[in-house]
């Protein structure tokens, strides 16, 4: 059985051309028609590259301001050490949801690795699980993620205007770390802050043009903890995803 | 919306300088059921020392048929309207929905008619809703009216969204001596009249009117003022139904009240 039937596609597209009053054979192409729709990428990239320390402070303030109403806590911390302490404190204070034991899952990521969480939490008896680089022990890791209290990730970018973390899917950085645990903590540096979604897309586009990873198979924007208002419009956090979202921004002061 | 802002007003001012009269188009609803509103419009212009004429042959702009989908029938009424008002330099009408019909729907009705299409476009530029004409064209807000009490204003849909008239009637009300403008909740929400809608779907129409009436009462106003008799008829009917003493007034009636 071939679901990807070329014949269907041809007929389908011909029908559309017919509806649009165009000749059956297509003689137009995407680049010619839509090239202009993406032509501000260059200026956006310039803006990102020429950002001053002051600009970044302004973005951080914006992120904090926009995050507030979304119940998204932004903690600016001077060093990695402070971020690690904040996570350890959360791991100690918060009540587990999916089991009695406290545990963490974390990305395999340079910034997260350098928090040294497994050693730091060992004395408190809190295990920290980090995925292997292959798909081999994925099943076991999924089990850990299901029961974890906290998931620790970094992010590719963080958009100030909408308080959105941008997470690309990669090996060692499973999507479920930011999804299954009760609390999601993201650790990023101030340099990863962007102003707008347009800037994020400009970076993706640059990547695609260079035939690099681009969006990856799944790029997720996360703007606050999971929420629902489906029962009598009462806002409740923790519908399916994490009930809490905390972003530690390392400001490097 | 954008189109309305770009209306060229110069010919109108020129007309006034030459002392030519303003032509009144009297909405059929006013003509048949509320002649006092027409009288009020004439009082206003008399007070402004402007002459008015009212073509004796006028009937309806065709909106009821158009909104019901009967375009052929609407077109014949519209063509007649153009024949009657085509030569008038400035036309004023105390109804936002009629003006919206002429300005925005006539071009659509006559889009394939080489004779009437340009006439429709030109007419659309020369016809004005009453408050739009007073405030935007004549630049008058205070026409010496007086009314002691609290007034709330209902935004008619076609006047507000079709002609972008929101502030003009409010400014006129605020200039009435003794009157205080109090806003109702959701003044821009449809009252549920909708032409033949209120006949075809009386339950829905009544439910919508009930909401409007609640907002009117909630405002604490003594009277409701509007610029379209269709809405005011609907609101008045439902105010009476629940035993409220609040009265509806066409804005022309309010502005015609002497101090």
């Amino acid at each position: 059985m071939n679901l990807d039937h070329t014949f269907n596609r041809v007929l389908f597209l011909q029908k559309i051309r017919g509806a649009l009053g165009l000749p059956v054979a297509n003689n137009r192409n995407f680049r010619d028609l839509f090239f202009d729709n993406g032509n501000n990428t260059g200026s956006l990239l310039d803006r990102i590259n020429n950002r001053s320390a002051e600009d970044r402070k302004r973005l951080l303030d914006r992120l904090i301001r926009e995050g507030g109403p979304l119940n998204l806590k932004v903690i600016p911390v001077p060093t990695l050490e402070d971020a690690a302490l904040a996570i350890a404190e959360l791991a100690r204070d918060r009540t587990p949801e999916w089991g009695d034991d406290r545990s963490l899952v974390a990305w395999r990521h340079p910034l997260i690795d350098s928090l040294n969480l497994p050693d730091r939490l060992k004395e408190q008896g809190i295990p920290v699980h980090v995925p292997g680089l292959g798909p081999d022990d994925a099943g076991l890791f999924r089990h850990h993620a299901q029961t974890a209290l906290i998931g620790v990730t970094s992010a590719d970018y963080c958009i100030a205007e909408s308080a959105s973390l941008v997470l690309k899917a990669r090996s060692g950085q499973p999507r479920m770390v930011s999804l299954l645990p009760s609390i999601h903590v993201a650790v990023i540096t101030e340099g990863q802050l962007l102003e707008s979604l347009a800037e994020c897309y400009a970076l993706v586009k640059k990547d695609l043009d260079a035939e690099k990873e681009g969006m990856t198979c799944c790029m997720t924007l996360v703007s606050g903890p999971s929420k629902t208002a489906d029962i009598e419009a009462v806002m409740v956090h923790g519908a399916h995803g994490p009930r809490e979202l905390i972003i530690c921004v390392i400001s490097g002061n | 919306m954008e189109k309305d802002a770009a209306i060229n007003r110069d010919p109108v001012i020129a007309t006034l300088l030459y002392g030519r009269p303003i032509t009144l188009f009297v909405q059929c609803l006013i003509d048949s059921l509320y002649p006092e509103v027409k009288d009020a419009v004439e009082i206003i212009f008399r007070r402004l020392a402007l002459d008015t004429v009212c073509p004796p042959d006028q009937t309806c702009c065709g909106q009821p048929a158009f909104n019901a989908g009967y375009r052929k029938e609407a077109r014949s009424a519209a063509a007649r309207f153009i024949d009657i008002f085509g030569e008038s330099e400035t036309i004023v009408c105390p109804s936002g929905s009629c003006v919206n019909m002429v300005r925005h729907h006539y071009p659509l009705l006559f889009e394939n008619d080489p004779i009437y299409y340009p006439k429709a476009i030109s007419l659309g530029r020369r016809i004005f809703e009453l408050t739009e004409f007073l405030v935007d064209v004549l630049h008058v807000e205070d026409i010496g009216a007086a009314f002691l009490g609290k007034v709330t204003y209902h935004d008619s849909c076609h006047l507000l969204r079709g002609l972008s008239v929101r502030s003009q009637p409010r400014r006129l009300i605020q200039s009435v001596k003794g009157a205080t403008l109090v806003e109702m909740k959701d003044s821009d929400r449809c009252c549920g009249f909708g032409g033949s809608f209120f006949l075809k779907y009386p339950d829905i129409s009544a439910a919508m009117a009930a909401g409007k009436v609640r907002a009117v009462i909630g405002s604490g106003a003594d009277v409701v003022v509007g610029c379209d008799m269709g809405c005011l008829m609907q609101i008045q009917k439902h105010l009476i139904r629940i035993g409220s003493g609040i009265k509806t007034l066409h804005i022309a009636q309010l502005l015609a009240m002497a101090g």
Partner: protein
């Protein structure tokens, strides 16, 4: 003719529903208006978005071909489905091929449109709706009544009773507790599912991804945990470039819920890479026509294909506020439903949707892509008045036509008009 009026009457006489609808509009309708004002480009971005959408629709063949090519390049499979039957059959085939027993679904209007759930259930597959509102509706065996707030018509105590019955938990009427219970029940479903089915809010041809929005996180679950992901999109839901996508996504979030950005936005371009620890092994994108090309061919209505299904028009419509979603008797309710339902499923059948509106225009002002819904309602009314060959619409009523012909004759002479005016005076003293 009667269902619309009867269902409307029922809704109007339900005080709980009336309050819920009023609160919904106060919150979401006003939230969207305020959010447009907050756009960095200003509220006129809606006008630009309309142009972008029209440009996309006018070149839909090129966009879909590009999109399909990119998705395939990324390892996904694309199926072009002419109608509901083809789309449903494709879903069933995919399920059979991968031995699927349990499906978790993200909220999707288009799967409602094609009647997917009953077809899968008939194959012995357990289908679970996972958006909380949809889950409630599924447990209650009802239909959604709002595009983004499907259970708006149900009270907390009704939901409490429902959960007590269906989930076997003690009765309570506390929304946080009820949400927690649903979270637990649905978490098990997510973990056990073999296939996730979602809609698609907006695809992008340039990159070959689809974007799916949610606030609850159920979409992320359904597209991360099961081994197979099937996304179904109406063929019009595609933007050309990332730049267009940016504009539309921000407007969609604002129109739907007054948010700068929906809580979660998944950009999905294919199955997981082999070295990834999670994500589906298989990704299928079904692109559905089901009557859309017929709309596309009629320039009077092509504009409705700009719709990105945010529900903003429902949140300001004074008629929807009174009658709720069920009266429309169709997957698509509210002002957009009043245009789309007749065009997809029969103008004559849905004539009450066309006539039962006041043409107040609030929907147009609320639309993130500035669609002129009142204009199209007027066009549909003219079809009903005089019939239409292309849409196979017969004249609504010859009696009504005669009345209007007579009216038009009356308006041709002042003397006749005055007789009519006299009559009016009798009817409305």
């Amino acid at each position: 003719m009667q269902p619309y009026i009867d269902e409307a009457r029922k809704a109007i006489s339900n005080p709980v529903l009336q309050t819920a609808l009023a609160n919904l509009q106060d919150r979401l309708g006003k939230g969207a208006a305020a959010a447009y004002q907050n756009l960095p480009e200003g509220p006129d971005l809606r006008l630009k978005a309309h142009d972008l959408r029209m440009q996309a629709i006018n070149n839909l063949d090129v966009l879909l071909e590009t999109l399909a090519g990119q998705v395939q390049k990324n390892g996904g499979k694309v199926i072009f489905a002419d109608d509901a039957a083809v789309a449903v059959a494709a879903c069933r085939k995919i399920a059979r091929k991968h031995g699927v027993r349990r499906v978790v679904k993200g909220k999707s209007m288009v799967t409602e449109e094609i009647g997917l759930n009953p077809a899968l259930a008939a194959d012995g597959i357990e289908v679970t709706e996972t958006d909380l509102g949809e889950y409630i509706i599924q447990l209650a065996e009802e239909h959604p009544s709002h595009i983004i707030a499907p259970a708006i018509h149900k009270t907390r105590s009704e939901i409490g009773t429902l959960f007590a019955q269906k989930l076997g938990i003690p009765y309570c009427n506390d929304p946080p507790t009820l949400t927690r219970e649903a979270r637990k029940a649905l978490r098990e479903k997510f973990l056990a599912a073999d296939m996730g089915i979602t809609g698609c809010n907006l695809a992008c041809a340039e990159t070959g991804h689809i974007a799916i929005l949610s606030n609850e996180g159920n979409i992320r679950m359904a597209t991360t945990l099961p081994g197979v992901h099937v996304a179904i999109m109406g063929m019009e839901r595609v933007a050309a470039t990332l730049t267009d996508h940016d504009v539309l996504l921000r407007l969609l979030s604002r129109g739907a819920a007054g948010q700068n950005m929906a809580g979660y936005v998944s950009h999905i371009s294919g199955p997981r890479q082999t070295d990834h620890q999670d994500g589906p092994d298989h990704f299928y994108l079904i692109i559905l026509d089901n009557g859309r090309s017929r709309i596309l061919a009629d320039e009077r209505f092509r504009e409705i294909l700009c719709c990105i299904r945010c529900g903003a028009c429902l949140n300001v419509c004074p008629v929807y506020a009174k009658i709720g979603g069920h009266a429309y008797g169709s997957t698509y309710s509210g002002p957009v439903g009043a245009v789309v339902s007749p065009l997809l499923s029969g103008v004559g059948r849905f004539r009450d949707l066309v006539l039962g509106e006041t043409l107040c225009g609030a929907c147009k002002d609320a639309c993130p892509v500035n669609i002129d819904i009142p204009r199209m309602l007027l066009e549909l009314r003219s079809m009903l008045a005089d019939g239409d060959g292309y849409w196979q619409v017969r004249r609504n009523s010859f009696l009504e036509k005669s009345v209007w012909m007579f009216w038009s004759w009356m308006m041709q002479k002042r003397a006749r008009y005055e007789i009519g005016a006299g009559l009016m005076k009798r009817i409305f003293p």
